[in-house]
Symmetry: C2
Subunit: 108 residues, 2 copies
Amino acid sequence: MLAVAALDATMLALADPTRRAILSRLTTGEARVTEIAAPFAMSLNAVSKHIRMLERADLVSRRRAGREHYLSLNPRPLDAAADWIEQQRTFWNHRLDALERALAEDQD
Amino acid sequence: MLAVAALDATMLALADPTRRAILSRLTTGEARVTEIAAPFAMSLNAVSKHIRMLERADLVSRRRAGREHYLSLNPRPLDAAADWIEQQRTFWNHRLDALERALAEDQD
DNA sequence: AGCATATTCAACCGTTAGGTTGAATGATGT
DNA sequence: ACATCATTCAACCTAACGGTTGAATATGCT
């Protein structure tokens, strides 16, 4: 139950291109909210909200240093997302293998 | 441009748990709309809409046989999604390596 | 103390997601 | 021809998303 809900939150967080860009930015290392917001053609507030969603999905964590908030990436939830996709491909390939075998039998 | 938009559509389609369940179902092979809808506690119409979104993301394609529509999985767009996630992890690890080297230097 | 900076909170707005119900379309079977 | 089955279309609803602006909060600087 909890694992499923966690994947839901992760996938939802990844659905938005701005949030994906924020995560990419954070692979380089920590950054403050203002720094993260700078490249985007939207208000600081909008970016702040995106960051909050990333925190809810536990993809980002926050370290307060006075008035500055340093965000950092937490890549662990990405594992479950990658696993899900990998599973789909695995099952898909199994099915294709079965199809191939069936076709081979037809030729006999 | 197009590649980015395609990833957007894929990620958006994957964001919903019902749609992910539909994709999982389709790894087994083709299925009709009614069959796909059966397990879900929602109307056929709702599932039909989800399927349309999956088609828009090119994750599912449709073969009409009389009044029955057979859906099948197209896993190719998943590659880009998996690649994106893998990139994040790669960059993240590079950054950690750099950190380790920095710490090692500090000890000299 | 007073001003500037970093960030969030709160209220609002337009669009879309996700669902419903009811009617329309189109193919099947008798 | 007719009733049934498979699916979509259309209209509607509510909640959430993604954005805005303006005020609040808290820290830092001089």
